[in-house]
């Protein structure tokens, strides 16, 4: 693990290089074998399977990653954080969202589900300023987002991950998170140039917070790995860490469990709960019903750009419209 006193910089030469987080193992055949499962090469069929939990990087739920005070008015638990009000969005002939309304309360985990192409990701895009709604409005803390730019919305406290991972592939894990932390910093050229106290303070605090987040997500050992060299699961986790780094009030996760196996999904479920317990509000898009049912407090269902249902997981599970549109008849199989 890198020396925490090291200034957090992405620069080549000003800092002494940290020792690589993961020592490079030589690429020889024998050195890499035998670390997992049993080792009798003659009878592969006889092996005992590895404990799946061992495969999953351990997260550290105890690390305090509560959002930093970013000057957003404090809303108490249960109050409305964000409201989607009669939002319609058209792409030419395609109506991606059709008068959709729902809201998210502070401190809850809200599930957003629906068939493919129902408009879930589009909903995220509208909430984060990627698209402007054709009509209707998104209100955050009671105020419409209006024509705010993407980065301004992030600064207000809405952060997201992407359905297709979009990390800064050639930056290290730590640098990826630092970019998120920087969202609320203000050092510019002048303070960097003269190394003003503000700059030093922000750098050291930012570095500390980034390391905390990495530790929380179980990525502290990989802080100096390039994002693109991380395994898929780590990349998904790093996306969450980066989003958390912006100290959001509302964290939007777009299919964070895609490509995970059931064991990994279970871990993720834990993680999402822990994140909420640390003071975040979570909006979750996910197709895995077990996960959605297990973690959310409330669910909104979209179909063809319209909201077709809203309610507690139990209500949604039994809603005939949802079953017809989304779950399909053989519900057991689907999960």
């Amino acid at each position: 693990m890198p020396d925490p006193t090291r200034p957090a910089t992405g620069d080549d030469d000003t800092t002494t290089p940290a020792t690589p987080a993961t020592p490079a193992t030589p690429a020889t055949q024998d050195s890499a074998t035998g670390s997992h499962g049993s080792t009798d090469p003659e009878h592969p069929g006889e092996r005992t399977l590895a404990d799946p939990a061992e495969e999953v990087t351990e997260i550290n739920p105890d690390v305090d990653i509560a959002p930093e005070d970013i000057g957003v008015p404090v809303v108490s638990e249960g109050e409305r954080l964000l409201e989607v009000d009669e939002v319609t969005l058209r792409f030419g002939g395609v109506v991606a969202l059709n008068e959709v309304s729902f809201h998210i309360n502070k401190g809850e985990i809200l599930g957003l589900i629906g068939p493919n192409g129902a408009g879930k990701t589009t909903c995220f895009n509208v909430m984060t300023g990627v698209y402007q709604p054709t009509s209707g409005a998104v209100r955050y803390l009671g105020k419409p987002l209006g024509k705010r730019k993407k980065f301004q919305i992030t600064k207000l406290g809405i952060a997201r991950t992407f359905q297709n991972i979009r990390l800064f592939a050639n930056m290290t894990a730590l640098e990826n998170v630092l970019v998120g932390v920087d969202a609320h910093h203000s050092t510019g050229v002048v303070s960097a140039m003269f190394r003003l106290p503000k700059h030093r303070r922000e750098e050291s605090q930012g570095y500390a917070r980034a390391m905390e987040l990495l530790t929380f997500m179980g990525l502290d050992g990989k802080a100096d790995e390039l994002a693109r060299n991380l395994p898929y699961g780590d990349q998904r986790r790093l996306e969450i860490a980066r989003a958390l780094a912006t100290s959001p009030q509302l964290l939007c996760l777009d299919e964070p469990a895609a490509g995970f196996n059931p064991a990994e999904k279970a871990k993720l479920m834990e993680l999402i709960r822990t994140i909420r317990d640390q003071g975040y509000t979570v909006l979750l898009i996910e197709h895995d019903m077990k996960l959605v049912m297990g973690v959310t407090d409330r669910i909104v269902v979209l179909e063809f750009g319209r909201k077709i249902a809203e309610g507690s997981p139990a209500e949604i599970r039994d809603n005939p419209a949802v079953i017809a549109a989304y779950l399909g008849v053989d519900e057991e199989d689907a999960s």
């Binding site: 910089t9 620069d11 690429a27 730019k149 979009r166 990390l167 960097a192």
Partner: protein
């Protein structure tokens, strides 16, 4: 580059082993090495080291040219290397800087050099903002052609504007005020061994028409300052924002990076450094005309950055030295020097595809790639 063969200059060496060894030296030793290296750079033009010294053209002048290239490359590196914006019209800013000096010291006013250079930097920076504000919304390669257009617009405006001296340019640009502190004699190697030649001296710092060495010294000092600036800014939030923008603009924006503002900042800073370099050029040349700011120069500047290793400041310095020095060194090839230079660019591209000194991360990635290639090729041919 040949200068890297001497001891402290080896810091530029791409061999990580060497670099680590240097890094591991005690701090005091490092400082001494740096000082020696600085001294070496300072004395380089008067040492007249055989083989390194250019026969065909005045070595002091060549070193000055190389120094302006280095400066330009550092500026362009901010735009291309850090922020990932392909700029094919960088010479435009260089011209703006040079012409600001020309206009304010000779053509239309006779302000002092000391006043004019900061003005030139500011004017170049403003021109960067003026170009950037509308065009930075244009993406990727479209930006390349827009900037190329800008460079040409600047040049053609100079050609066609009487007020700016037209195609005939501006002459009689005054020299900067100097102080005559001491004289530095040069070495003469004509007898085989170095002999101190007391007749040929350069005065620190007297700016004349026919001794280019003081200009080199001036440029060297400015490079030092710009380098420091670059190091400080890059290793801050600003540097990270540039990098994130380069990697994935949309994602960066959604992570709270005002990408447009940072791109504009990169453009403005790059332009300012380009303008500064142009101002130096005008000062030394004493005469500027639109012919000094042709499109080809933009391309050479870009070549310096890319060949050196876009994103790594030491790399682009090496690249600038290659692009600025080799064509002069190749003077003995006479008519064939552009041909040789072209071949050199191709060979560099093919054999150092990541640049001479790629940024740290690319080095790492490259090492992995190389090992992979070895492994894969080993199998494929087996």
């Amino acid at each position: 580059m040949s200068t890297t063969t001497s001891a402290p200059a080896g810091r530029k060496s791409s061999s990580t082993g060497f670099r680590e060894r240097v890094n591991n030296l005690p701090k005091a030793v490092k400082i001494v090495l740096w000082v020696l290296f600085a001294l070496f750079l300072f004395l380089l033009p008067v040492l007249n080291i055989p083989f390194i010294t250019t026969e065909g053209s005045d070595f002091g002048g060549v070193l000055f040219t190389v120094a302006t290239y280095v400066l330009v490359a550092l500026g362009l590196n901010i735009v291309v290397g850090y922020a990932g914006l392909l700029d094919l019209g960088y010479v435009g800013f260089y011209a703006v800087g040079a012409y600001t000096v020309g206009v304010l010291t000779s053509e239309h006013a006779h302000l002092s050099w000391v006043v004019v250079v900061p003005i030139a930097i500011v004017v170049a920076m403003i021109s960067g903002v003026i170009l950037g504000a509308p065009t930075l919304r244009v993406r990727g390669d479209y930006l390349a052609i827009v900037t190329l257009g800008f460079g040409e617009i600047v040049r053609l405006t100079l050609v066609n504007s009487e007020w700016l001296g037209g195609a005939q340019g501006i002459s009689d640009i005054p020299k900067p005020p100097g102080v005559e502190l001491f004289k530095v004699p040069s070495l003469d190697w004509s007898s085989g061994a170095p002999v101190v030649d007391l007749d040929t001296t350069s005065t620190f710092l007297k700016f004349g028409i026919n001794d280019f060495v003081p200009y080199y010294w001036l440029a060297l000092g400015i490079i030092g300052l710009v380098l420091l600036f670059d190091i400080l800014v890059k290793s801050s939030r600003v540097g990270r924002a540039w990098e994130a923008t380069r990697e994935d603009e949309d994602a960066a924006e959604l992570m709270g990076v005002p990408t447009f503002r940072f791109k504009l900042l990169a453009f403005a800073l790059g332009a300012a450094i380009g303008g500064l370099s142009g101002a130096l050029f005008a000062t030394k040349a004493g005469f500027i005309s639109p012919d000094s700011f042709i499109l080809l120069l933009s391309i050479l500047f870009l070549a310096a950055v890319v060949v050196g290793g876009a994103g790594n400041r030491w790399g682009v310095i090496v690249g600038a030295i290659v692009v600025g020095y080799f064509p002069e060194r190749f003077r003995e090839f006479a008519d064939f020097r552009v041909l040789v230079f072209g071949l050199a660019l191709m060979l560099l591209a093919i054999f150092r595809p990541q640049g001479l000194l790629p940024p740290r991360r690319t080095v790492r990635a490259k090492r992995a790639d190389e090992r992979q290639a070895v492994l894969e090729e080993g199998e494929a041919s087996a």
